[in-house]
C-alpha cells in the first residue's frame, strides 16, 4: 500500500504543481519556479525511496487501479530499473532546468504559463516511463506532444515559434496516431494491455501475423518522437523554444521517449530480421545525417539540435542490434548524453543571454570573457566528442566495439566503417563548437564586449551536469555500473549482465576505430572552411519547404474531399436525405406482403369527410400559394384546426387542447416573423426542379400514407397500455392516464423534453439579442414598415377587452393545471393558455407597457421550472425511492372538502414554468426586435405610416 501511494504521488505531483502554478499565475517568478522546483525535488525524494525495491528488489514495485476495464485500460504504474533511470533523468534534469530557467527567463515574461506547461510536460513524461499499461502509456504519450506544443510556442509573438510548434505537433502527433494503432494491435496480439504481461509474451507477438503491422506502426511512433530520419526535421525547428525547454524536452527527455519505448518493448519486438534491419539502418542513417549537418550549422542551438538527432540515431542503432551488450552501450550512452547535452544547451543559452547572439560566426575567444562557461561547455563538448577521460568516450568505445558483430546487408565491414565515420563527424562538430566559440580570437567585437559569466544561478545547473559527465568517465564503475547493469537487465528482460566499464581496455579494434575517429574529427575541423564552402555550393532539399508543401497539398485535397462529399447546401442535403429515405422505404416495400390488413375500419361520418376535405384543400393551398405568405398562415391554421378536431374525435382530449393552443402561439410567432421577412417574394425555382421535387414529394407521400394505411388496418401487437391504465389511479394517484404517464411513469422523458424546450427558448434569445449589431443591426435600422398599419397603435376596444380577458384566461389556465391529473389538462396545456393570455396583452397594449408590468423574467421561469422538476425527482430519492417517483395522499379541509396532494403536481408545476418561459421568451423577444427596429427607424426620421 505504501508503494502504491508513493507511485501515485510520484506521477500526480507534477500535475498538481502545474495546476497550482496556473492558479497562481499572477504571482511572481520566484513563486512559480519555487513550486516547480519543490515538486521536482519532492519527486526525486519519492524516487529515491523507490530505489532499493526498483533496482535490487525481487519484484518490481507496481500498483494498479481499475479505470476502464471494458477496454483493458487500467491505471497501472510500475517502476522497474528502466523506468527508474528515466524518471531520475526527468526529475533530476527537470530540477536543474527549473533552476536555470528561473534566471534565464526575464521577470516580466509569463513565467506562470511557462512553468505550468513545463510541469505538465514533466508529469506526462513521468507517466510514460512508469506506466504499466500500454493504453495508459499512450495517454501520457499524447500529453507530451501537447505539452511540447505549448512550450515550443511559448513565445507566441514569434512566427517561427508558432510554426515550429505546429510542425512538431503535426509530426509527433501524427506518429502518435500510428503508435496508437500499433499498441492496440500489440495488445490484441499479446492478449493483454498490461505491460508486464505483454513483456512476457514476446514469442507469441513475434509469431503473430500482426507482427509486421505492429512493428511498423510502433516504429513510426518511436521514430517521429525521437526525430529519426526521415522525420528528423521537426527537431531543429523546435529550437524556437526557450533554451531551458530545448535542454529539457529536446535533448534529455521527450526526444528520448522514442528510444525509451524501443528499449521498453525490446523483449517483445527485438530480435527479428526485420527489426534489426529497419531499426539499425534508420539509426545509422540518422546518425550520419545529423552529424554531417551539424558540422555546417552556425546557430549554436541548431548545431546542438542536429547533434542530438545524430546521437539519438546512435542510440536507436544500438538498440537495433538486438544484442545485450549493445543495449548496455545504449543505456550507458543515454546517461552520458543526458548529462553533456543538457549542459551544452544551457551553455548555449548562457552565451546567447550574455552576448545577444547564437551565431557561431560572430563569436569566438569567449574563454577570456566567460571562463566558467567556457570550462563547463568545453568539458561537455569533449564528452560529446568521445574524448578520454570523459563519459562519452566509454559509451562511444562500447558502441564501436559492438559494430563488427552485425553484418548489415550481409557486409561485415559496413557498420564499423560508417559508425567510425559518424563518430569522426561528431568529433568534428564537437571540437568546432568548443573551439570556434571559446578559443581563437573574437570574430566580432560587439558581442564579445558584452560577454561575461552569468550569476551562479545560471551556471550551477550545467556545472553539475558537466561534473557528472566527467565523473561518468573517471569512476564509471562507482557511478554508473550498478544502474546500467540493472537497466540493461530490464531492457532485455533477462538477468542483469556483468558490467565492466573502464577507460582502458587494452589495444583493440574499438580503440583503433576511436583513434581514427578523433583524427578524422581533427582533420574536419582543420579543413572546415573549405568543406563549408563545398557544402554551401551543394543544393540540398529544405525539409521545412517540403513539409509546408505537403501540408498545403493535404489542406487542398482535404478541402476538395469535404466539398465533394458534404456540399454546403441545405437544398442538396435535404434532397439526398429524402431521396435515400424514400429509396429505403421502397426497398422495404419490394420485399412483398399485403398492403391492407384485416382490421375492421370505422365508417367515417359526413362531418369527418368534410374536415378531411378541408385539410387536403388547405394543404394544397399552402403548397400552391406559398408566395403569398400571410394568406398561407390562414391555410396552416385550418390544417391545425382539423388536426385538433381529429384528436377530439379519436379519444385524445389532451392532445386536442395542446394542439389548439400550440396552434395559436405558432401562428402568432409566424406573423411576427413575417413582419420582418419578405411577404411576397417571387418564386425562384426552375420548372424542371419543381417537377423533380414534386415527383419526389408525391412518391414520399404515397409511401408514408401507405405505411400509415397498412398500420391502421392491422391490429396492434401486445402493448403496455394495460399496465399504465391499471396503475394510473392506484400508483400515480390520477385518473388522466396521459397526464400520469407524463408526470410519473415517463417523467424522466418529460424532464428531458422541457429542458430541450428551455434550450430552444434560450437559443432564440441568443439569436435575437445579438441581432441589433453588425450587418443585421444595420438592416434593422434601415427597416421601414411595409404593411398598412392600423391608424390606432393600440386600439381602444382591443386594449379594454384584453384587460378584462386576462384574469379570466389566467383562471382557465390555473383550472386546467389543477385538474390535469384527473381530467384533460396539465402543465403543458395550462402553460400554453397562460402564455396566450399574456401575449394578448403584448398585442393589445404594446411591448413596453406589458413588459414593464410583467411580474417575472422568462429566463428565470425556464431555470426555476427545470429546477423545480428536478428537485421533485431528487426529493423522491431523498425519501429512498427512485428518481422522480411520485407520492400522493388525500386530505380534507372545511369548505373545500376532500382533495388530493401529489408530488407529481409539483413536477407538473416545473413543466408549466419552463413551457411558459420558453414560449414567452420566443414571442416577446421576437416582437421586441421588430419594435426596436421600428423605433430605430422612427428615431432616424422615418415616418411611421
Amino acid at each position: 500500500m505504501a508503494i502504491a501511494m508513493t507511485l501515485l504521488m510520484l506521477v500526480s505531483l507534477p500535475f498538481a504543481a502545474a495546476l497550482a502554478i496556473a492558479l497562481l499565475h499572477w504571482a511572481s517568478r520566484a513563486v512559480h519556479s519555487g513550486i516547480a522546483g519543490a515538486a521536482s525535488a519532492g519527486g526525486l525524494a519519492l524516487l529515491a525511496s523507490l530505489a532499493a525495491p526498483a533496482l535490487g528488489g525481487a519484484t518490481v514495485p507496481s500498483a494498479s487501479w481499475s479505470w476502464v476495464p471494458s477496454l483493458g485500460l487500467d491505471l497501472t504504474l510500475m517502476v522497474d530499473p528502466l523506468g527508474w533511470m528515466f524518471a531520475l533523468l526527468i526529475l533530476g534534469i527537470g530540477l536543474l532546468v527549473v533552476i536555470f530557467a528561473h534566471s534565464y527567463l526575464a521577470r516580466e515574461e509569463d513565467t506562470g504559463r511557462f512553468f505550468a506547461s513545463l510541469m505538465l510536460f514533466q508529469g506526462a513524461m513521468l507517466g510514460i516511463v512508469i506506466a504499466g499499461n500500454v493504453l495508459l502509456l499512450l495517454v501520457f504519450w499524447e500529453l507530451t506532444s501537447l505539452a511540447s506544443f505549448l512550450l515550443i510556442g511559448f513565445w507566441q509573438h514569434k512566427a517561427e515559434a508558432r510554426q515550429g510548434a505546429r510542425m512538431a505537433l503535426a509530426v509527433t502527433g501524427g506518429g502518435g496516431l500510428a503508435l496508437i494503432g500499433g499498441m492496440v494491435l500489440l495488445g490484441l496480439a499479446a492478449g493483454s494491455f498490461d505491460l508486464a504481461t505483454i513483456l512476457t509474451r514476446g514469442d507469441i507477438v513475434r509469431a503473430s501475423p500482426l507482427y509486421p503491422a505492429i512493428l511498423g506502426l510502433i516504429l513510426i511512433g518511436c521514430f517521429t518522437k525521437s526525430a529519426q530520419f526521415p522525420f528528423h526535421f521537426w527537431l531543429p525547428h523546435a529550437m524556437a523554444a526557450p533554451t531551458p525547454v530545448s535542454a529539457y524536452l529536446h535533448s534529455a527527455t521527450m526526444v528520448k521517449a522514442g528510444v525509451f519505448l524501443l528499449a521498453r518493448l525490446w523483449p517483445v519486438l527485438a530480435g527479428t530480421e526485420a527489426y534489426t534491419l529497419i531499426v539499425t539502418s534508420v539509426g545509422l542513417v540518422t546518425m550520419l545525417l545529423g552529424a554531417g549537418v551539424a558540422l555546417f550549422r552556425h546557430d549554436l542551438k541548431s548545431i546542438l539540435a542536429y547533434s542530438t538527432i545524430s546521437q539519438l540515431g546512435m542510440l536507436v542503432m544500438l538498440l537495433g542490434f538486438s544484442l545485450e551488450a549493445a543495449a548496455l552501450a545504449a543505456v550507458l550512452h543515454i546517461l552520458n548524453h543526458a548529462a553533456f547535452k543538457a549542459a551544452l544547451f544551457m551553455s548555449a543559452g548562457i552565451v546567447e543571454h550574455e552576448t545577444g547572439t547564437r551565431d557561431i560566426r560572430r563569436l569566438g575567444g569567449l574563454a577570456k570573457a566567460m571562463p566558467i562557461t567556457a570550462l563547463i561547455a568545453t568539458l561537455a563538448a569533449a564528452s560529446m566528442a568521445g574524448l578520454p577521460p570523459l563519459g562519452g568516450f566509454i559509451s562511444k568505445e562500447a558502441m564501436l566495439y559492438e559494430t563488427p558483430k552485425l553484418a548489415l546487408f550481409g557486409l561485415p565491414w559496413l557498420l564499423p566503417v560508417l559508425a567510425t565515420l559518424g563518430a569522426g563527424l561528431s568529433v568534428g562538430y564537437s571540437l568546432r563548437l568548443a573551439g570556434h566559440l571559446f578559443f581563437g580570437s573574437p570574430r566580432e567585437a560587439e558581442p564579445f564586449a558584452r560577454a561575461h559569466d552569468p550569476g551562479a544561478g545560471m551556471w550551477a545547473s550545467p556545472a553539475l551536469l558537466t561534473t557528472l559527465a566527467v565523473l561518468l568517465g573517471l569512476v564509471p564503475m562507482l557511478l554508473a555500473a550498478p544502474l546500467v547493469g540493472a537497466v540493461t537487465g530490464a531492457v532485455t528482460g533477462g538477468p542483469a549482465p556483468e558490467v565492466d566499464l573502464a577507460l582502458w581496455h587494452g589495444v583493440n579494434l574499438a580503440l583503433i576505430l576511436s583513434l581514427i575517429a578523433v583524427a578524422g574529427g581533427v582533420v574536419l575541423l582543420w579543413q572546415h572552411k573549405r568543406l563549408l564552402a563545398a557544402w554551401e555550393r551543394t543544393p540540398l532539399p529544405d525539409a521545412k519547404l517540403l513539409f509546408d508543401l505537403a501540408m498545403r497539398f493535404a489542406d487542398k485535397w482535404t478541402r476538395k474531399a469535404i466539398v465533394a462529399t458534404h456540399t454546403p447546401s441545405l437544398q442538396t442535403m435535404l434532397l439526398m436525405s429524402f431521396g435515400v429515405t424514400i429509396a429505403l422505404v421502397i426497398d422495404g416495400a419490394m420485399s412483398g406482403g399485403v398492403l391492407t390488413g384485416t382490421r375492421a375500419g370505422l365508417p367515417a361520418s359526413a362531418p369527418g369527410i368534410v374536415a378531411w376535405a378541408l385539410l387536403i384543400a388547405a394543404t394544397a393551398a399552402v403548397v400552391n400559394d406559398a408566395q403569398n405568405r400571410l394568406r398561407v398562415l390562414i391555410y396552416i391554421s385550418v390544417i391545425g384546426l382539423v388536426v385538433s378536431l381529429a384528436f377530439v374525435q379519436f379519444s385524445a382530449p389532451d392532445l386536442a387542447l395542446t394542439q389548439i393552443s400550440v396552434e395559436v402561439v405558432t401562428i402568432l410567432l409566424l406573423l411576427l416573423a413575417l413582419n420582418l421577412l419578405p411577404k411576397k417574394p417571387p418564386a425562384i425555382s426552375s420548372a424542371p426542379r419543381k417537377w423533380r421535387d414534386a415527383a419526389l414529394a408525391v412518391s414520399g407521400g404515397l409511401l408514408i400514407g401507405g405505411i400509415a394505411w397498412a398500420m391502421l388496418t392491422r391490429d396492434p401487437g401486445p402493448t403496455i397500455a394495460a399496465y399504465h391504465l391499471a396503475n394510473a389511479k392506484s400508483g400515480g394517484g390520477g385518473t388522466n392516464v396521459v397526464n400520469v404517464i407524463l408526470v410519473d411513469f415517463r417523467a424522466y422523458d418529460t424532464l428531458g423534453e422541457i429542458i430541450v424546450l428551455g434550450i430552444a427558448g434560450l437559443g432564440i434569445f441568443a439569436l435575437l439579442d445579438t441581432a441589433a449589431t453588425g450587418a443585421a443591426g444595420a438592416r434593422l435600422r434601415a427597416w421601414r414598415a411595409d404593411m398598412p398599419h392600423s391608424p390606432e397603435r393600440h386600439p381602444m376596444m382591443l386594449v379594454a377587452a384584453s384587460r378584462i380577458i386576462l384574469p379570466l384566461t389566467l383562471t382557465v389556465g390555473i383550472y386546467l393545471f389543477l385538474r390535469g391529473h384527473n381530467q384533460p389538462g396539465g402543465g403543458f396545456i395550462a402553460a400554453l393558455v397562460v402564455a396566450v393570455a399574456f401575449l394578448v396583452q403584448y398585442l393589445a397594449a404594446g411591448f413596453d407597457w406589458s413588459d414593464a408590468r410583467k411580474p417575472f423574467g422568462e429566463h428565470k421561469l425556464i431555470g426555476w421550472g427545470v429546477l423545480v422538476a428536478m428537485a421533485t425527482g431528487i426529493g423522491a430519492m431523498l425519501l429512498g425511492a427512485n428518481f422522480l417517483t411520485s407520492w400522493f395522499d388525500y386530505f380534507s379541509l372545511p369548505l373545500v372538502g376532500k382533495f388530493e396532494l401529489a408530488s407529481a403536481m409539483l413536477f407538473d408545476a416545473g413543466v408549466f414554468l419552463t413551457v411558459l418561459g420558453a414560449v414567452m421568451l420566443a414571442l416577446a423577444q421576437l416582437s421586441h426586435v421588430s419594435q426596436r427596429a421600428a423605433r430605430a427607424a422612427g428615431a432616424s426620421g422615418g415616418e411611421q405610416p
Partner: protein
C-alpha cells in the same frame, strides 16, 4: 370511406406537401414544409395507437375499454417540442435574413419583392 383511410391519406398528403416545400429555396417555405411534416409525424405517431372513438384514457371504475394512452403522451410532448423547433428555425431564418439580406436557404443572392421593407440594398 373509413376514418382509417381519411387519416392515412391525410398523412400522405401532408408528407407530400411538406417534402415539396422543404425542398424550396426560401427559408419561410422550408419552415412551412417542416410544419406540414410535423403535423404528419404527430398524426402518424398518434395513429400507432389505432383510431378509437369515445374511449378517452380517463380512468373510471365503470369503464373497461380505453384507447392506448402511451402514444398520446408521446405526441403531447412532441407537439410542444414541435413548437420549440419551429420557433427556433423561424428565428434562425430571420437572423440569417437580417445578416445576409437574402432569404435563400443557402445564402445565395435572390430577388426580394419590391414592397419589402428589408430590401437587400438597405445594407451598408
Amino acid at each position: 370511406m373509413t376514418y382509417e383511410f381519411l387519416v392515412a391519406s391525410a398523412i400522405g398528403v401532408l408528407v407530400a406537401g411538406g417534402i415539396y416545400l422543404a425542398l424550396r429555396a426560401r427559408t419561410f417555405q422550408v419552415v412551412l414544409g417542416l410544419t406540414l411534416i410535423s403535423y404528419a409525424v404527430n398524426l402518424f405517431l398518434f395513429a400507432s395507437g389505432r383510431l378509437v372513438i369515445g374511449r378517452p384514457p380517463i380512468w373510471d371504475k365503470a369503464v373497461s375499454q380505453y384507447t392506448d394512452p402511451l402514444p398520446q403522451a408521446l405526441v403531447l410532448t412532441a407537439i410542444v417540442i414541435t413548437f420549440g423547433m419551429t420557433a427556433f428555425v423561424v428565428i434562425l431564418s430571420l437572423r440569417s435574413f437580417l445578416e445576409t439580406g437574402s432569404d435563400h436557404v443557402d445564402g445565395d443572392k435572390v430577388p426580394c419583392d419590391a414592397q419589402d421593407g428589408l430590401a437587400e440594398d438597405a445594407a451598408p
